[in-house]
Symmetry: C2
Subunit: 138 residues, 2 copies
Amino acid sequence: MNETRYTLQPIGWVESPLTDPELAPRQPDEGAPAAWLVLDPAVGAALRGLEPGSQVVVLTWLDRARRDVLEVHPRGDMSRPVAGVFCTRSPERPNPIGLHTVQITAIDGTRVGVRNLEALDQTPVLDIKPVLGPIDER
Amino acid sequence: MNETRYTLQPIGWVESPLTDPELAPRQPDEGAPAAWLVLDPAVGAALRGLEPGSQVVVLTWLDRARRDVLEVHPRGDMSRPVAGVFCTRSPERPNPIGLHTVQITAIDGTRVGVRNLEALDQTPVLDIKPVLGPIDER
């Protein structure tokens, strides 16, 4: 492997009732609860313009995932043939970045309430991006 | 800011005719060319099951972006009011991770051909994930 490395600095953390990886839903439409993104006040200016109702993509660092796994049984189902992790949403992958599309429900300072976030409590947050609308609305 | 840090290791690089940031399209449906993801052979097993025609999300590290910018004029248009970077797709943000939805056109060993990738030549690639279909197809 090439030896180049890059360094991530979390912008905040997830605050969620989800604490047990075994009970966490695999995808947001599979019963994920309401949660908060508790952001560092130092990045508060980057939130300017976000509003309740906005659809955003949240990127997280899945800090409890293994990074040396390249193939898995999809969804942990041993009856399914193994697949490369790049064909799955398994948290186990070389760079365990989580991708979550959520709706903002509240903004309280640098605390951002979200609906349908399937990330464990205390998961580091890396980024927030708008969901792109049609080309003529950009 | 909290002092926790995480380390990314690129899984490969973009090979693209896009070399000039000033000429690069801002979004994939704004004229992005065909490109290759040139992956490290060490992660080849993680590709197992990907096929031409698959829609995937590619995550990249926007290594030429500034990380200390929290507000921008959207799309570089000075006539638009500044917005927090989390409301925009600006490459300038605390963790400059690029998010690209592309279609795979070819797989040649660990070289993956893709359509509509708005990333500059030599951009590091971090991850590939499937676009999620309906809940009953997972």
